[in-house]
């Protein structure tokens, strides 16, 4: 969790940004609203504009593109939330955004992509590319802190790509597997 204090036109705004998975954030507004944000692109250039996909949780049907500009990263001197750099080799902007998030924040195997919920070693991959998986089916086994954890599918779908190999050391938030549309 990182707290951003922004001054916009002499009004101070406090945002609490909580990283759920790589590129997925929970933003707590001052008025108590909780918003799911997916960071789809992030470049360190002068003309770069951060375009997070913002989905208000209460009315999650409305999906609005909001350009926040580089303000939050510059004005306070705070770094942009960590681990965004890793998303560069991820799917193109927009691919992740269609994932409809449920009311509870999803950390692990949500949406189009399965990301590592914690650091560990991939012990086994239980599915192959093209496999049809059901919700709750084990996709991979991740060993973390000497404990085997089954990573299961959070939705039905088809495996589009497997991004790791057995024996790979993964960090929190690393993409492991992608689903087809």
């Amino acid at each position: 969790m990182r707290r951003y204090t922004l001054r916009i036109n002499d009004t101070e705004h406090v945002l609490d940004v909580e990283e759920l998975a790589a590129g997925t954030f929970n933003v707590h507004l001052e008025d108590g609203r909780l918003i799911d944000v997916v960071l789809t692109d992030h470049q360190d250039l002068a003309q770069a504009v951060i375009t997070p996909q913002i989905t208000p949780q209460i009315t999650s049907q409305i999906t609005s593109q909001v350009e926040t500009g580089p303000v939050p990263t510059r004005s306070t001197g705070a770094r942009p939330p960590a681990s965004t750099g890793r998303r560069e080799q991820g799917p193109p902007a927009g691919a992740v955004t269609s994932a409809r998030r449920s009311a509870t924040p999803r950390g692990g195997a949500g949406g189009q992509q399965l990301t590592a919920p914690m650091p560990g070693v991939i012990l086994g991959i239980e599915v192959a590319v093209g496999a049809l998986v059901e919700k709750g089916q084990t996709l991979m086994v991740l060993e973390a802190m000497k404990m085997k954890n089954e990573l299961k599918a959070e939705r039905d779908g088809t495996v589009a790509a497997i991004l790791v190999n057995t024996g790979d050391q993964v960090k929190h938030g690393d993409p492991l597997l992608e689903f087809e549309g």
Binding site: M1, E18, E19, L20, N26, A82, S83, T104, P105, R106, G107, G108, A109, G110, P117, M118, P119, G136, A144, M145, K146, M147, N149, E150, L151, K152, E154, K171, H172, G173
Partner: protein
Amino acid sequence: MNSETIDQLLQGVSNLTWQSVVMMLVGGLLIYLAIAKEYEPLLLLPIGAGAILANLPLSPLVDREGMLTVLYDIGVGNELFPLFIFIGIGALTDFGPLLENPKMVLLGAAGQFGIFLTLLLALLLGFTREQAASIGIIGAIDGPTSIYVSGVLAPDLVGPITVAAYSYMSLVPLIMPPVMRLLTTKKERAIRMPYTQREITQRTRILFPIIVTVVVGIAVPFATPLIGCLMLGNLMRESKVVERLTHASSNELANVVTLFLGLAIGSTMVGERFLQPSTLLILGLGLVAFFLDTATGVLFGKLMNLLSGGRFNPLIGAAGISAFPMAARVVQKEASREDFSNFVLMHAMGANAAGQVASVIAGGVLLALMGAG
């Protein structure tokens, strides 16, 4: 052959007492639990064997010069063996999850309440202060700490206390879940906790054991032997330059000492001394201590959930005990029972590592309270 010769030949049979037979059966039960149920087999098997060997009639092993007596004298009576074990535990413990999430220290402290509640209960049941403190330390859920503290305060109770501590420790996966489920709602168990991986620098990892040793050593001098050895092992692990020593402490040394420790503890379980109503009480109180630890941990977790506005999974509170890393795994299992993609393992590991340190400190505090010297 006159009757004297016959007596001498049969002195094994004639010296067999009902107590020693019962104790051999107890030893057999421990061996059974170790082999068939795999309850802490590394300790319970040698303890069971030690109990049988010590209770055989006129057993030369527990003579003044007997092997079991010698083992007891060189390692249990003077607290050497538990400290060796602690070096090995330190070499195996990864404090990273705790350093990533320092507020878990609070849970490590909360997991120790069982010690003091059990102590009070034991006092009420008529145990002396020293005995009550030794029984309470079962609530540290830490074998070596239990042996160390009870060895100082109530050497006559080391046997039952060790057996209680280790057998219940192996039962953590059975004892904890019912308490955890009873005290939490489905919704609480399903709370997700975002995990942010923070890189802990090697410098921090190296400084941690040194600073903890110095701070704890000054604050609670009685805890210095335990915390010092635990942190020595951890310093060797994190320094990454003495891998041979780290390896030796967590493997060869720990294995050899475990064998010696088990045999020596088993040899204290001699019929007349072990078969007392107090032993049953100790076993009962030990179980109570485990329940209380889990309950207070979970309740504290609920308090943290309240303070954080519903964003702390109270199950993690139960991991604030010393049984590392079993407690954290049990927490993860319970969390994923509710929601298969909820991973709280790293948080639980942090609480668990804190519990490891806190139980050692609690042991030192108890010794200080009892004015042990």
